[in-house]
């Protein structure tokens, strides 16, 4: 937070208020999304991944990021948008968040990176409640900049909800598994 504020003041000392934060925005299916710039570790080009078996379809696989195994999530399929062919200009934003288990690093595939905006919290509006969709959970708020609407994403949610879902599904699966094993054991006798 502090670093962000400092950066803001350096960048545009004119209207730096205390609750301003910088956001990196990117384009996906014609819409502009923003993520907290402090969560962005780096921006890379798309490279082929190693597929993880039985992973949800939005997990494209894992890559080797200088010795760390980093999963890559396709944000289009995460948000149920039509998927597009990856090209050499397809961009992967590597996000890093702090969790109670330590740092988590994950990449998201987006269409293109747009720019960096300083956005104050007071300018953001909550997204309308009428959309009853899981995807709204990731949305921190909406903000307008020069008549463009930017959808601000909650990076922690984006990465951890994903985890919860995964563990939930895997728990369900393992629950089934153990039941089936027990069943099988009984069958054997």
């Amino acid at each position: 937070m502090n670093a962000a504020q400092l950066n803001n003041k350096d960048a545009d000392s004119g209207h730096g208020t205390d609750d301003e934060q910088q956001y990196l925005t990117f384009i996906m299916a014609g819409e502009e999304y923003g993520v907290d710039i402090l969560a962005v570790q780096e921006i890379r080009g798309w490279e082929p991944t190693t597929v993880i078996p039985n992973a949800p379809n939005y997990i494209k696989g894992v890559i080797n990021l200088r010795g760390t195994i980093v999963p890559i999530m396709d944000l289009r399929s995460r948000f149920n948008l039509a998927s597009v062919e990856y090209s050499p200009v397809t961009v992967v934003i590597i996000l890093k968040i702090e969790t109670e288990r330590g740092e988590r690093v994950m990449g998201i595939v987006v269409d293109a990176v747009s720019e960096v905006h300083a956005i104050s919290d007071s300018d953001t509006q909550n997204s309308p409640d009428l959309i009853e969709d899981l995807n709204t959970e990731f949305i921190k708020g909406l903000v307008s900049i020069e008549d463009n609407m930017i959808i601000l994403l909650d990076v922690n949610r984006l990465l951890t909800i994903d985890k919860q879902l995964l563990t939930l599904t895997s728990e369900l699966a393992s629950g089934l598994d153990s039941e089936s094993t027990a069943e099988h054991e009984e069958n054997k006798q």
Partner: protein, 724 residues
């Protein structure tokens, strides 16, 4: 010169914990009937180092407490007091107490002195009991004092003749510091203090060795101080140096002499006590030379220390890379291992420069040399990697060392007689594995003691010796390490386990279980056959945790038991968590890795080998076993060109639940792979134990053989569902 001592605290704590371990193990080894003086000395030295260290770093609680303990040990050491079982028990309690205090201090908390104070009072009582003895002992401890009267006279002061051995400086003992302490001692009671330096034995300058100390001193202390306080200052050097103490008879005669100024330890001239200026004047050359010597010495010693610290820091760094826990841990590494590493790095550098040179003026005629160079590079890297891994390897005695004490205490508590045998203590194991295996092992040993071994009467009734036996055995087996906890007790009671399991609804009456399956029930959560819950064990929390901990380490645990003869718990663990030998296989476009140790064999399938059961499940007869067969492409949903099993490659692997055949498209090479966590940034994936990075920088997944194995049953179930 002020040094921030806190940077050394960690080292002090580590050394002290080690000292406590030494004390503990030696106390346990102590046989009251036949006291080995060397053992007592070792204990004493450990206690003394802790006390000294604690004093240096200002942990007065610890040094004060250790002092009492040391007094008792000293009396035992000098033979004035016969050691009794009570003493050993008390000393062991002290070890525990000190450990507690030290942990508190390490964590930055104010230690709880309640227990320490209690023990201290207890100690003082014991010491007082023998007060007559102990006054005698004090006199006996002063070899140079002829009788009591002189010791009374000694109140006027003392003359100390201090002739250090030549290499006193090399052992890190600086006479100047001792003098300063003496001075402080004297000044504390308003006394005076002077030092004479004798340089008779000073050789010619050309023959002088800069690290040697050729000087000797006579020290006059005109103050009412205890001899024991003076002795304590010389305690570190008393074994190597010639030190004589004489009581000063003419008290107060020469009190005006100045105390030694700081800059002037090695004073120039001979016998008469000198002022600082005189010394410089009389023989400046010699004194300057001597001073130079000293300076060089201390500098050398300093640099030695720095070296050591650096080496240690390096070792720490190499270890810390893989550790992410916030507490800083370190490993003590033998110098041999470090030297080996340095050699290898040297070779690596040579190879690198050779290749670099080759690259600058390369043409195709030199391809042969390039290949040679690369081969050499590969060898260097592998050697380097192996030795770096070796640094992480510690003998398992680190994990075993706590058991003698544990068994001793527990057997007392349970009034059972137990003999603990430990075999294969030098078997080396990765530090991380070692840390995690400690608790499960403790649990198993406690269990064996509590449930396994019978009480002495019962043992005799059953025709055994009254002393039960627990054996801890560690050995290498294939690519893993096996640790066995064996007892010669009653063995597992099958019927009782069955009844209990029935009662808890874990099994049904009609289940016809094999012995192995029954024994495995004890690893179910909440399972305990103990009728009485003791504070030792029997709550039924434990065995499931033991199993879970071991599984987390990619290990497995097995039980075998013979009624009336005992049971064996054997734990099988991977040697290291970081690197494994892998067999690369290809399925579709993906590369997977099997741990080489798990592979039994690889064969090309023929239709005739296969038997089809229940429609989609194939089994194959492999010698006497029926091996279930699974296709990676099916369970991982990979698209592959191959349609049927004929001609496919089959890798037969063995995991926790027996063998399983895995169908793959192609066998690739074997190579060592570094295991990377997939869970850190993602989550646990079924049948995958981790990931690694291949030579071309891409990620390949490592298969979890035991996971695949349990899948065979899932798959059968799946096919049920599909059929339905």
């Amino acid at each position: 010169m002020s040094i921030d001592l806190s940077q050394f605290h960690q080292v002090f704590f580590e050394e002290s914990f080690e000292g406590l371990d030494i004390m503990e193990s030696n106390l346990l080894a102590l046989n009251i009937a036949e006291v080995d003086s060397e053992t007592i000395n070792t204990i004493f030295r450990a206690a003394h180092s802790i006390k000294g260290g604690a004093g240096t770093f200002g942990f007065m609680q610890i040094s004060g407490f250790t002092h009492v303990l040391e007094t008792l040990l000293d009396e035992i050491r000098s033979g004035e007091r016969d050691i009794e079982q009570e003493h050993i028990d008390m000393l062991l309690q002290c070890v525990d107490c000190l450990r507690g205090l030290m942990s508190d201090l390490q964590a930055g908390n104010e230690p709880d002195m309640a227990q320490a104070d209690e023990l201290k009072i207890h100690f003082e009582k014991v010491l007082a009991n023998n007060s007559k003895n102990s006054t005698e002992s004090e006199n006996a401890g002063e070899p140079c004092v002829d009788d009591k009267s002189t010791s009374e006279q000694g109140r006027a002061g003392w003359i100390v003749h201090f002739i250090p051995c030549e290499d006193v400086l090399c052992t890190g003992n600086e006479p100047y510091r001792m003098f300063r302490e003496l001075k402080d001692l004297a000044e504390a009671v308003n006394g005076s203090f002077e030092v004479e330096c004798h340089r008779q034995s000073l050789p010619k300058f050309s023959e002088m060795h800069p690290e040697m100390c050729y000087l000797s001193w006579t020290i006059h202390i005109r103050a009412d101080v205890e001899l024991s306080d003076i002795e304590e200052i010389f305690e570190w050097v008393v074994d190597d140096c010639d030190i004589r103490y004489e009581p000063l008879s003419d008290s107060g005669s020469d009190t005006t002499v100045e105390a030694v100024p700081e800059s002037l330890v090695p004073e120039g001239e001979t016998s008469p006590p000198l002022h600082n200026n005189d010394a410089v004047n009389t023989d400046p050359k010699v004194s300057a030379a001597a001073e130079d010597n000293l300076k060089i010495d201390s500098r050398e010693i300093d640099s030695c220390e720095i070296d050591r610290n650096e080496v240690k820091a390096k070792a720490n760094a190499s270890v810390k890379v893989t550790k992410k826990s916030t507490e800083t841990t370190s490993i003590r590494v033998s110098i041999d291992k470090i030297d080996g590493l340095i050699n290898m790095v040297g070779e690596l550098v040579i190879t690198q420069s050779m290749l670099g040179q080759l690259g600058q003026e390369f043409d195709m005629s030199r391809i042969q040399r390039l290949q040679e160079g690369l081969a050499q590079l590969e060898q260097n890297t592998r050697e380097l990697q192996e030795s770096v891994m070796k640094i992480r390897m510690l003998p398992i005695s680190f994990a075993f060392s706590r058991f003698p004490r544990l068994v001793r205490d527990l057997s007392k508590q349970l009034s059972k007689e137990v003999d603990l045998e430990m075999i294969g203590e030098n078997t080396e194991l990765d530090k991380t594995v070692m840390e995690k295996i400690g608790d499960p092992l403790v649990h198993l040993v406690r269990n064996s003691l509590d449930h396994g071994l019978e009480c002495p009467e019962e043992r005799i009734r059953n025709g055994k010796t009254s002393v039960g036996k627990i054996t801890l055995n560690a050995f290498h087996h294939g690519g893993s390490i096996v640790i066995e906890v064996k007892d010669d007790g009653a063995g597992l009671n099958k019927d009782r386990i069955r009844d209990k399991a029935l009662e808890k609804g874990l099994i049904t009456k009609d289940d016809n279980l094999t012995d192995g399956q029954i024994y495995d029930l004890i690893f179910q959560p909440g399972f305990s056959t103990a009728d009485v819950v003791s504070d030792v064990s029997g709550r039924g929390v434990g065995m499931d945790v033991v199993k879970r901990n071991i599984t987390e380490l990619n290990g497995s645990i097995e039980v075998s038991s013979i009624p009336g003869e005992g049971s064996i718990f054997s734990i099988r663990l991977p040697l290291t968590l970081a690197i494994l030998d892998g067999q690369l296989v290809k399925v579709g476009n993906e590369i997977y890795i099997f741990p080489l140790v798990s592979i039994v064999e690889s064969i090309q399938l023929e239709k005739s080998m296969l038997n089809n059961i229940t429609g989609s499940q194939y089994v194959m007869q492999l010698r006497n076993d029926y091996v279930p067969i699974i296709c990676l492409q099916d369970i991982f949903n990979i698209k592959t060109a191959r349609q049927d099993l004929e001609g496919a490659m089959l890798v037969v692997v063995e995991g926790d639940n027996g063998k399983v055949g895995v169908v793959v498209d192609e066998l690739l090479g074997q190579q060592q792979v570094v295991i990377k966590s997939l869970e850190k940034n993602y989550q646990k994936v079924d049948s995958i134990s981790g990931a690694t990075i291949l030579g071309d920088g891409t990620v390949a997944l490592i298969l979890d053989v035991s996971g695949l194995n349990t899948r065979t049953s899932d798959k059968k179930n799946d096919s049920h569902i599909h059929a339905a």
